[in-house]
Symmetry: C2
Subunit: 106 residues, 2 copies
C-alpha cells in the first residue's frame, strides 16, 4: 500500500483501535497490524507523533504505567475523541463512496 494514501486517515484508525480498550503506543501499532490483516506496518515515527497530536487535540488522554519494569503510556479515548471518531466514520463513508464512484470499475 502506497505511503501517503494513508494521509488524513491515520487519525481515524488510531481512534477506532482504542475505542473499546485503552492501549499504549506499541500495542496500537500491533493492533493496527493485526486488524488490517498485516497490511498496516506503521513505523514509530508515524504513530507516536500522531498520538501526541491526538492528545493535544483533546481526543485522547494518556497515563503512564509500568508493566514488568517497562514504562508504558496508555492512551484512552476521551468524550471528544468518541465524537470525533463518529464524525470520522461518517466522513469515511462519504469519501469512500466518492472515490469509489469516480474510479468506477467499468
Amino acid at each position: 500500500m502506497r505511503a501517503d494514501a494513508l494521509r488524513g486517515h491515520l487519525d481515524s484508525l488510531v481512534l477506532a483501535v482504542v475505542e473499546h480498550e485503552p492501549l499504549h503506543g506499541y500495542a496500537i501499532i500491533e493492533a493496527l497490524q493485526v486488524r488490517s490483516g498485516g497490511e498496516l506496518e506503521l513505523p514509530t515515527g508515524t504513530v507516536y507523533p500522531a498520538l501526541r497530536r491526538l492528545e493535544a487535540a483533546g481526543y485522547l488522554t494518556s497515563d503512564w504505567d509500568e508493566v514488568g519494569g517497562r514504562r508504558r503510556r496508555t492512551y484512552a479515548l476521551s468524550r471528544a475523541g468518541r465524537k470525533a471518531l463518529a464524525q470520522h466514520r461518517a466522513e469515511w463513508r462519504t469519501f469512500s463512496s466518492v472515490i469509489g464512484g469516480v474510479l468506477g470499475e467499468a
Copy 2:
C-alpha cells in the same frame, strides 16, 4: 470533505476521468465535480500541478488546441497511464477494505 484525505488518491481520479475521452484541465475539474455529486471542488492550484506531474510520469500525454479563441491543453491517457489506472484501482480496493475493516462500524 477534508483536504488531505485526498492525498495520494487524486492521481487515480484524474486518470479515471480521462479514461474514455481526452479532456483539458478545466473540463477535468468540472468532470470530477459532476462525477462526485458535487463533493469534489478542486482548485486549479491542485489540479494543474497534478496534470503536469502525471504527464512527467508518462501517464498522460497532452496536446494544445484552440476552441473559440481559447487555448486548451488536452490530456489523454497513455498506455502506461492505462496500466497505472488499473493498478490504482486494485490498490484502492485494498486500501478501502483495510480502512473500512479497521474502522468497523460496530
